[in-house]
């Protein structure tokens, strides 16, 4: 028994000495990491910090190492890799990690420059992701980031009141402020507060930055002002707003198409047809505007131009009938393979897709969605960081950091592709239903014409006459008699500079039709 006690005492002494030595080693390592970081030797700092982070038993030093690691990766311009460790700190919460505040701020800053992807952020900030945080603990400079994504989560769950509350809590100076205001505009419109919605969108349009993302946000806000004006039947104002969407915006063709509906509603048939002439120009043959043929046919119908009406319906059928077969195949083949579907859209966008040719206009529409954009950014950034990891091969491979980051970035890429693929696949289903609906309408219009019920059909297309006295030239501009105009004939050849300025010059055949 005595010898047993004796042995136990020796064991305790050995462990104590070991712990003591270990602590000294760990302490030396964190100082070493700190020194490497201060010297700007970030690769070595990251490698040492990771060793400490994964092996240290000292909780405090593990926390320090985690933070140094994230900072070093960020300094090496590996923001996604850094977000892996900032995220780990944030998930520990403000009570358990003294670096919570800085980590949260850095995540917000990273996300405002290279989008981390909603899936990753929701895990951090949302109640859905299980990372529910007390809003009081969110540092001031990260409040915009936090409340914005809280708002987005509520918005997606259609909890508009909670969403409004969160979006309104985004501070004015935050990079998320304008996006929050944009959402507030959407919510105001959904709740029927149209003028308030316009006010929100106007604020976004005037405050958006002059970079690519800012311009996209500005164009989106202007489009939404136009749509609200349209919904409230203020068609002239709506047209004025559509005219503000810049030619180089991705939304310009949408503005042309939607503007043709506004022209139709105020009986500016020649302007409506002119806009549709642009939308259907060969420059945009891979763009997806099937409804343009329906609108064209009912516009011709209003002008009692029945041959042209039939021609538009035939064009719709010729162009979109073959699409149904491929659409069915896509729906069947990719329901369980969202990553494969994302890859398909990605291949189309990068010009390497050679199959499903009939569905290319649909792929084009899908590749212009925010879902695809967000997924593509995450995949591209992940790939870029994966490629750069090899620079730090030796040191990082021996510490295990290389493998850890490869695994994280690979998963991030896969999650982004899956998430985007799922959203795109859902949109594909929506587009199929939309096409079916349009197809039914073409049959209906045709049938009514064949049954000689054209007058009734035409009469059913009730449109506004209140604003008819205002006349428009091309480009959504009102006719100003003091203005010098230029005219160019369309002789079958499309000129790029003329897109958006076409105006038809045809008269109604209704009187002639009536006399017959």
């Amino acid at each position: 028994m005595n010898s047993l006690v004796c042995h136990f005492r020796w064991l305790v002494r050995i462990v104590a000495v070991g712990v003591c030595l270990g602590a000294q080693v760990a302490s030396a390592n964190i100082q070493n990491v700190s020194a490497l970081y201060s010297r700007g030797d970030y690769p070595a700092a990251a490698s040492s910090a990771f060793q400490l982070y994964s092996s240290s038993r000292n909780a405090q030093e593990k926390l320090n190492a985690g933070f140094f690691l994230a900072r070093s990766l960020q300094a090496l311009d590996l923001p996604y890799a850094a977000s892996r460790f900032y995220g780990a700190i944030v998930r520990q919460g403000p009570m358990n990690n003294p670096f919570f505040r800085q980590a949260f701020e850095q995540l917000g800053a990273i996300n405002s420059t290279v989008s981390l992807g909603q899936a990753q952020i929701v895990q951090l900030v949302s109640s859905r992701g299980g990372g529910s945080l007390n809003s009081e603990s969110i540092p001031g400079s990260a409040r915009g980031f936090y409340f914005y994504y809280q708002g987005v989560e509520s918005f997606e769950d259609r909890k508009y009141e909670a969403a409004s509350r969160n979006f309104k809590a985004v501070p004015g100076g935050s990079p998320y402020y304008l996006r929050a205001q944009f959402h507030l505009g959407v919510i105001a419109n959904l709740e029927g507060r149209h003028s308030q919605a316009i006010s929100y969108f106007s604020g976004v349009a005037s405050g958006a930055r002059r970079d690519d993302e800012g311009e996209h946000l500005r164009a989106s806000a202007i489009m939404n002002i136009a749509r609200v004006e349209y919904e409230t039947k203020r068609y002239n104002e709506s047209l004025m707003q559509y005219g503000r969407v810049g030619r180089d915006s991705d939304l310009w063709l949408d503005a042309q198409f939607e503007g043709s509906w506004a022209f139709f509603m105020i009986q500016k048939h020649n302007n409506a047809l002119g806009n549709l002439h642009t939308v259907q120009a060969p420059f945009f043959e891979n763009r997806f505007y099937p409804e343009s043929y329906i609108l064209q046919s009912i516009t011709f119908l209003r002008l009692c131009r029945f041959d042209e009406t039939k021609e538009s319906l035939e064009k719709f059928r010729d162009r979109y009938q073959p699409l149904f077969g491929e659409l069915k195949k896509l729906i069947n083949d990719y329901g369980e393979n969202p990553r494969g579907f994302y890859k398909l859209v990605y291949d189309f966008r990068s010009g390497s897709l050679s199959k499903f040719k009939e569905a290319w206009p649909l792929f084009d529409a899908l590749s212009r969605t925010d879902a695809f954009r967000e997924g593509a950014i995450a995949v591209r950034n992940s790939d870029s960081e994966l490629a750069r990891l090899s620079r730090y091969g030796g040191k990082w491979a021996s510490s295990g950091l290389q493998e850890e980051l490869r695994d994280f970035l690979g998963k991030k890429k896969a999650v982004a592709a899956d998430e985007a693929g799922r959203k795109l696949y859902r949109k594909l289903g929506t587009q199929r239903d939309y096409l079916k609906e349009l197809s039914r309408q073409t049959e209906f219009i045709n049938a009514e014409m064949l049954l000689n019920r054209v007058d009734a059909l035409r009469a059913s297309l009730q449109v506004s006459t209140a604003e008819k006295r205002i006349n428009f030239i091309g480009g959504f501009q009102t006719l100003n008699l003091a203005q010098e105009l230029e005219y160019w004939p369309f002789q079958g050849e499309y000129w790029e500079d003329e897109l958006g300025y076409y105006v038809y010059n045809i008269a109604s055949s209704c009187l002639a039709a009536k006399k017959k």
């Binding site: 996300n111 989008s115 909603q118 996006r179 944009f182 959402h183 959407v186 489009m223 939404n224 749509r227 609200v228 349209y230 919904e231 939607e258 509906w261 509603m265 009986q267 048939h269 020649n270 002439h277 409804e291 329906i294 925010d370 879902a371 967000e374 609906e437 309408q441 007058d455 009734a456 059909l457 009469a459 059913s460 297309l461 009730q462 006349n471 428009f472 030239i473 091309g474 480009g475 006719l479 010098e484 105009l485 230029e486 005219y487 160019w488 004939p489 369309f490 002789q491 003329e498 300025y501 076409y502 105006v503 038809y504 010059n505 045809i506 008269a507 109604s508 209704c510 009187l511 009536k514």
Partner: protein, 261 residues
């Protein structure tokens, strides 16, 4: 970052569904409610290309009406055998309409002998009598019948107009009397001192402006300045020379730029 922009989706559906709904109830609407669509062309400005079903109508890229234009050009007289004449030309133009304007321009320059002239003198002792244009002050009417555009291979669009000018003014000829020499009989004539004499005449021309922005154009034109000189003015011995009018054509090529105010 995935903000919603789906009001449009709703709106478009609204438009489409409204039409679909109205189409569905169409057969039940009485014929008395039929409203004929007006002939839309009356909505449009009366302009060019009325015979076409589809036109582009938009604000004119470059407007000249009620604008002043000033600019500078380098003019070269192209039809002189023995000399090169270069003139710096200043232009002041006022456009009453897109098609009509008036222009004043003044040129001043110098001449250089061509190698042929030097060779004739050195090898064959032949002195050539030259009318050296020193200045021009011209006024003209400008008519711009053509306004067009073309696209470069790069996709860039160039607008241009083509104009015709007609008018008149004064051209100054610099007489240097350097062709005067002793006659074969050995008598020596004292030529007059070098001087410049002005002659009235008329001009016609054709030119093109290439608009590089909404205020600036590059100009290229060719003009024929026709005037009549008195041969006696260039004679080495004017006292004994007879008056004789000779028509001169100065065909100039002018290249420059102008700015519209």
């Amino acid at each position: 970052m995935g903000w919603p922009k789906q009001i449009g989706g709703g709106k478009r559906r609204l438009g489409l569904l409204a039409c679909a709904m109205l189409l569905l109830i169409g057969p039940f609407v009485s014929l008395g409610g039929v409203a004929f669509a007006e002939g839309d062309p009356e909505d449009q400005p009366k302009g060019l290309f009325d015979a076409y079903d589809v036109r582009v109508i938009r604000p004119r890229f470059f407007t000249k009406a009620r604008r002043a234009e000033f600019g500078g050009q380098l003019s070269v007289v192209m039809n002189q055998t023995f000399i090169y004449t270069y003139l710096m030309t200043g232009i002041l133009n006022y456009h009453f309409t897109e098609a009509l304007g008036v222009e004043l321009d003044g040129s001043f320059g110098f001449s250089l002998d061509k190698e042929d002239k030097t060779l004739l003198k050195s090898s064959f002792n032949i002195s050539t009598q030259i009318q050296r244009t020193q200045y021009q002050f011209l006024g003209s009417l400008v008519w711009t019948p053509l306004y067009g555009k073309y696209q470069l291979a790069s996709g860039k669009l160039i607008y241009f107009d083509t104009f015709l000018i007609g008018g008149g003014g004064m051209t100054g000829i610099d007489y240097q009397y350097d062709h005067c020499q002793a006659s074969s009989s050995g008598t020596t004539v004292t030529p007059p001192a070098a001087n410049t004499k002005g002659y009235f005449g008329g001009i016609i021309g054709i030119g093109q402006r290439f608009f590089i922005d909404k205020n600036t154009s590059l100009r290229f034109e060719v003009r024929d300045n026709i005037f009549s000189v008195n041969e006696r003015d260039g004679s080495c011995d004017p006292e004994y020379a007879a008056d004789k009018a000779t028509a001169i054509n100065n065909v100039t090529m002018q290249v420059g730029a102008s700015r519209f105010l």
